[in-house]
Amino acid sequence: MAKLRCKGTIIKQTISASLTAVAQITDFNHDGAESETFDATTLDTSGAGKEYSQTGYSEGGNFGFTIFYDDTLAGHQAITDLVTTPAACVWNITTTAATAAAMAFTSAGIGFGFTGAMNDGLKADVSLKITGLLAYQT
């Protein structure tokens, strides 16, 4: 059991033939993954509680991260290329666990936007729609 620090986490993107680290990430998140269920309640269900069962499918959710955006950086251009030329892309997340293996996922779509503020550097938010499931450690 360990509490993993986030400093040193590496998120890699596929650039052509290579999986390479994304630069200048400040934070990241993964949400929305869930096993899908259906309402299995019937007229003869006993008691007041509604019943649910599994469809056998799971939603992969989304993966997002924030970067200090440098539009001249090739790695960041590779991200915006996915907006201008939509394509699936394989990503890897390597945590700081001593025995960490990369958790891989494929993005089908991407959201991208950037913000500037007087008291901060230029930042961009990237959101990735996961197709399939993230390959969690088991």
């Binding site: 620090r5 400093k7 040193g8 986490t9 590496i10 890699k12 596929t14 650039i15 052509s16 033939a17 290579s18 999986l19 390479t20 680290a21 994304v22 630069a23 200048q24 400040t26 200090f68 950086l73 090739a74 790695g75 251009q77 590779a78 290329d81 394989v90 890897n92 700081t96 001593a98 293996a101 990369a102």
Partner: protein, 124 residues
Amino acid sequence: MRSDNGVAAAFDTPEYADQIDRSSGQPFWKLGAVVEVDRRGAQLLVGNGDCEPADDEAEQACYGWKAKRADVLLSREMLARAIDPEDRERFRNGEILGYDENGNDIPGPNWIEPDDDDTEEDDE
């Protein structure tokens, strides 16, 4: 190709088998591996410091790639070492080389000892 670049799934093929290192359990390109990619791929990989052009065609696709190459490679090295954006200036200055397994600084040649104020709590 740098040796800390993972192999994209589409390139993990028998054609490139002898240029891929699997000793870590994951496929990584061997140092100096030569791969054939499209023009945009070449520009991104070279621009990101992952590769250098291996032939005239790639050189032409990446015209001017040697300009500011030292800066590109320094940035790429910081990526490889997962240097926190807030520590980038310290890495550039040679104050740190990276982090150990506990996330502590690995001192560089220009390491600056923390101020007394910073160590006061430790002394108490």
